[in-house]
Symmetry: C2
Subunit: 286 residues, 2 copies
């Protein structure tokens, strides 16, 4: 039996897990340290012994050829860190270490073991403080030519709309991440409480959110024509209130009658472990 | 030596060519007939003898599994026509016949023999009365799950913008096809004459057009991260007046610093034959 470590590095927590035969054997959650030295110490401590490989998901743009973290807005101490190389130093010689973007890991996990099983073209999207996404073709992450395939959060869906933190205007994530709720002085969690109590304004706000989400999903369907789009991330926990509206708006804007009819938009299945599972799968699915 | 026939079916003209060893041996241009019977007669007449295969590019959405033309807005007599099957009937038994969308054929030709040679991820875009596009990965057309991968013309770039003929709002092709010029009571050709004469308003209008084009190109770069985007179609003949503005607007809106720096946006190399060349390549590149 081969054991793989999957590490999902988040802005507030790190999940470590041990995967064997596609099953989670062990899992540990730790608050993300504030310094690079503490971060590396925590990683070193939690790698276990005699593992067949280690996969790491990071919330960052990566230079995959040089195995370098390029830019991690939420964990700036990782910027320019050759993380795979550093982690290799913690392990017996020749133990493989892989790294990828956290949303790519999420998408890989859902494509291999979650809502997108047995599907050739999967797009996995994380809805949270921003929008992350990964494209998985035949169980392999699609990276594009420069490692940034699937950065759907920064599609302009309204070219003269709100300015995004990236400098561009009208980015999808300005309209369909938690930023939508923040602009209305509430979070999706708080709004959910009101919606569950039957508050009509709250229910309508979720429907409005779903429409914006559906616009971006339609763009993805028109460009990529996936079989399934899997929605994860914190905001997706309230999906029962916006899913139908998102599906409806998406269908309105998809050009192909076949894609309009058959594309599935579904909630993720693997829960909070998906990122770490996907990180471990980086090695298994090579 | 193997000879392949490539047929590019356009709304106004059909190009037939014979390709051998990736070279054009013969070429013929015919006005597109007005009826299905005349169309099929013209196709039959121009298939040549002892060919190794026939490829057809059509301006239509296709059902590739059933080899059926689904919907051809400019040639409605092709709707629901099982065109590959019909053409097979004109040929000696077992002669292979392939069919694809015309923009996919354009992209394939440019990826194999044009501006995108030796490139793994190519997006080919035709700018004309609408916007067509094809995605070519490792010299194969990417079709997506339902045959409609690459329908970038119908991405919403302004969700509350102009209504498109497809029923959706703010489609890329409303802003970056000839529709942009039509809305200003001019064509790109007519505007080019003025621009060449140094007319400042004409030059500014091309710059404005380029900006809209750049917005959609940035969306493609953010989602697909191609190495090159190749621009073809009638409007691209005036590209010297809008290319820089398109490249600049695209760079502003691309999130990845690597893609921003390295993605190439170039004019097509193969001219009016590209569609027919790509159609012939459908068989060669199988």
């Amino acid at each position: 039996m081969k054991y793989f470590v999957g590490i999902d590095v988040g802005a507030t927590k790190i999940i470590f897990l041990l995967l064997a035969n596609n099953k989670i054997i062990k899992k540990k959650k730790i608050s993300t340290p504030r310094t690079k030295a503490d971060f590396l110490a925590v990683v070193k401590e939690n790698l276990g012994k005699e593992v067949s490989g280690v996969g790491i998901g990071v919330p960052a743009l990566l230079n995959l050829k040089r195995k370098l973290v390029l830019n991690s807005p939420n964990l700036p101490y990782l910027n320019n860190c050759p993380l795979t190389q550093v982690v290799k130093g913690f392990l017996p010689q020749k133990t493989p270490v892989a790294m990828d973007n956290d949303a790519n890991c999420f998408a890989l996990a859902e494509a291999c073991l979650g809502a997108g099983q047995n599907v050739k073209v999967v797009c996995g999207i994380t809805l949270g403080s921003g929008i992350g996404a990964g494209i998985v073709l035949n169980r392999k992450i699609y990276h594009g030519a420069h490692g940034s395939g699937g950065e759907v959060g920064h599609m302009s869906i309204k070219f003269d709309g709100y300015q995004c933190s990236c400098g561009s205007f009208g980015c999808f994530e300005e309209y369909a991440s938690e930023k939508f709720f923040q602009r209305r002085k509430i979070s999706s969690r708080e709004l959910e409480v009101k919606a569950r109590a039957g508050n009509k304004k709250a229910l309508q706000l979720f429907i409005d959110y779903g429409r914006y989400l559906g616009i971006g999903l339609a763009n993805i369907v028109n460009v990529l024509d996936p079989e399934i789009i899997v929605l994860g991330g914190g905001t997706s926990k309230t999906s029962k209130f916006f899913m139908r509206s998102a599906q409806k708006e998406c269908a309105r804007r998809v050009i192909s009658p076949l894609a309009k009819k058959y594309v599935r938009i579904k909630k993720a299945k693997l829960g909070e472990s998906s990122g770490a599972v996907g990180a471990a799968l980086l090695l298994i699915n090579k």
